[in-house]
């Protein structure tokens, strides 16, 4: 069935709640409203108030209560209305959820999913545009995923729900209604921890995820056509744990790597990826690992500023050309 990214999320929630009665949904306005973005539309009608819980504005409680239910065997999915507000639940995620199993000596499980609508490019300004993934990818005990396609949106969410560990699921708001895909009717999951090559190539590797996959593929097509460059595009899909094999394989294959993400440069995941490549594929490199990311600032509101700050297809094209020419 053809569906949008947001619909894929919605149908994953529907199907998983139907499949497993221990799955439930909790967050602000997830019930009657169906969520600020309609990701949870129809859930209340299908599963009732006890499994689709509207909460007060209490992000720490939302995550904390999710943890409490999870360690008793439930599979809560909690929603941050915007990923930006995950900062208000930060301690619960990085200290409580992430360490639950470790500090119980392996005798506890915390199968919690935190859904976080992230990303910029929608005039959301400082507090509705954030890409907070790198705050969490440095936290052992968590898993972090960031689907870039409709298929992955559904498959990774299902995998996250079925995973026995806390998973932070970053869904990119700009993709919600801007991409569509024909999905199989049968149940499927996308494995957590596996990157995916979206386009093969031999001249240069472009490693990206989430909101910048589309732009990266567009850019790859442009340089293919205009410059005859064969760019390999690797979609990380899971940000913790990183798929080191896939990252190193493409780096070794092409010898030139450009990392692209919408999160800012400094402290973004690109640094970690570049460091891994530089350390473990050093002999294979024909040029520096470069990064094209948002500028090192907050995502500003006014269009000229936002445009200057965020990556886009043109900027990626330029970066590819420059690296190819190295």
């Amino acid at each position: 069935m053809e569906m949008t990214y947001i619909k894929a999320i919605n149908s994953a929630l529907m199907e998983e709640m139907r499949r497993d009665e221990n799955v439930f949904m909790m967050g602000e306005d997830v019930g009657e409203l169906g969520g600020a973005f309609k990701a949870t539309e129809g859930l209340l009608e299908a599963f009732g108030e006890e499994r689709v819980i509207d909460t007060p504005i209490s992000e720490a409680l939302i995550v904390g209560a999710g943890i409490g239910a999870a360690v008793l065997g439930m599979r809560p999915i909690v929603e941050m209305q915007f990923a930006d507000f995950i900062s208000c639940a930060f301690d619960q995620i990085v200290n409580m959820a992430a360490t639950t199993r470790y500090r119980h000596g392996g005798r506890a499980e915390c199968p919690l999913v935190v859904r976080a609508p992230s990303g910029a490019g929608i005039h959301g300004a400082l507090f509705h545009s954030q890409n907070p993934e790198a705050w969490f990818t440095r936290v052992p005990g968590l898993k972090v995923v960031a689907p870039a396609t409709v298929y992955d949106a559904k498959g990774l969410l299902k995998a996250a729900i079925r995973d026995n560990n806390p998973v932070i699921y970053f869904e990119h708001k700009r993709l919600y209604r801007s991409i569509k895909e024909d999905l199989p009717d049968a149940d499927f999951t996308v494995p957590i921890g596996a990157a995916e090559i979206r386009k093969e190539g031999t001249d240069l590797s472009l490693i990206t995820y989430g909101g910048t996959l589309g732009q990266s593929l567009d850019a790859a097509k442009i340089v293919e056509k205009e410059d005859g460059l064969a760019v390999e595009v690797l979609d990380l899909r899971t940000l913790l744990p990183l798929d080191r094999d896939a990252i190193l394989a493409t780096a070794r294959k092409t010898g030139k790597v450009l990392v692209v993400h919408e999160d800012r440069l400094t402290g973004g995941i690109g640094g970690e990826v570049a460091a891994i490549i530089s350390e473990h594929a050093f002999e294979f490199l024909d040029g520096p690992v470069r990064r094209l990311c948002a500028l090192d600032t907050h995502v500003a509101f006014s269009p000229p500023l936002e445009e200057a700050i965020l990556p886009n297809t043109n900027k990626i094209v330029d970066a590819i050309r420059s690296l190819a020419a190295y």
């Binding site: 306005d29 007060p56 409680l61 500003a300 000229p304």
Partner: protein
Amino acid sequence: MPQAEGARVQPETAARVEYELQLYYWMKLIRAFEDRVSRLHRQNKIMGGVYSGAGQEAICTGICAPLKDGDFVAPLHRDLGVFLVRGCDPARLMAQLMGKETGLSRGKDSFLHGGDMEHLIFGSTSMLGSSLPVAVGAALKFRMKREKNIAVAFFGEGASSRGDVHEAMNFAGVQKLPVLFVCENNRYAYSTPLEKQMAIDDVADRAEAYGFKGHVVSGNDLLAVLEVSERVIAHVRAGEGPALIECKTYRYRGHSEHDAALYRDQEELLEWQTRDPIPQYELFLEKKGHDLKHIREQIDERTHRVVQEAVDFAEQSPLPKPEEALEDLYAPNSGAVSKAK
């Protein structure tokens, strides 16, 4: 008791009359400004989230009118009125909403997140409730510096569920700081009705759990708000510790301009509209012998002009330049002289 403690009988001075008309002007200006903002949003001239406070004008007006120079205010997303009543230039405010260079944040942030520190209006983040600790810190400064100023923090009943609100109120109570907490209880946090947010009727009841007093007032009745705010602000200013005023009210529009608010009963809206703060106050003015028709015409003309000028200014203002994206991140360290008096 016809002469209750705080219900001071105001002498009918010319100043008082002028003040009462000024209050009317403010409510009308807020309404006119916000109506225009909603329209501009529909015309795609304002992007991003727009949160109308239509219906709640008596609160910003009634709380801010008794404030003095040097008082610190921390408004939230629905408190455009606070900006106007506290003296922020309407033109710069409109430019802010349009993301212009001349706006409060120079295009950096959207809607009401740009503050105006010249008027001690602190720009909030989006994280609801997180400005209450900040207001408490402002009050701490006033106390440390023996200044007779106060800090005022506005928040919705929805925000009251945030942990930051608890931490802020508790510390304010312990330290007996000159801070006024103003809860605008409009019965909904986005789509979430009161009963899913709290198990009590009045947010004001929380104040006692922090060692200070909570007051409940009809937020749609300007005179009622004023009566409480003048009295309570005087106490807070006198160093008697913090206070909480809860204003019961209702938002007319959706949560944001994107929201059709289908989760609400249309009846409920209509009923609240019969308690609109503006006609209520007009009745009072009429009773006091004002020629309301005349005044309304004058004031409508004035608010219309102010709003139009603001729109003109904002529309004619330039957008920021791309390279400004990296400006304003850090303050320079020239001399590092500290600024507090």
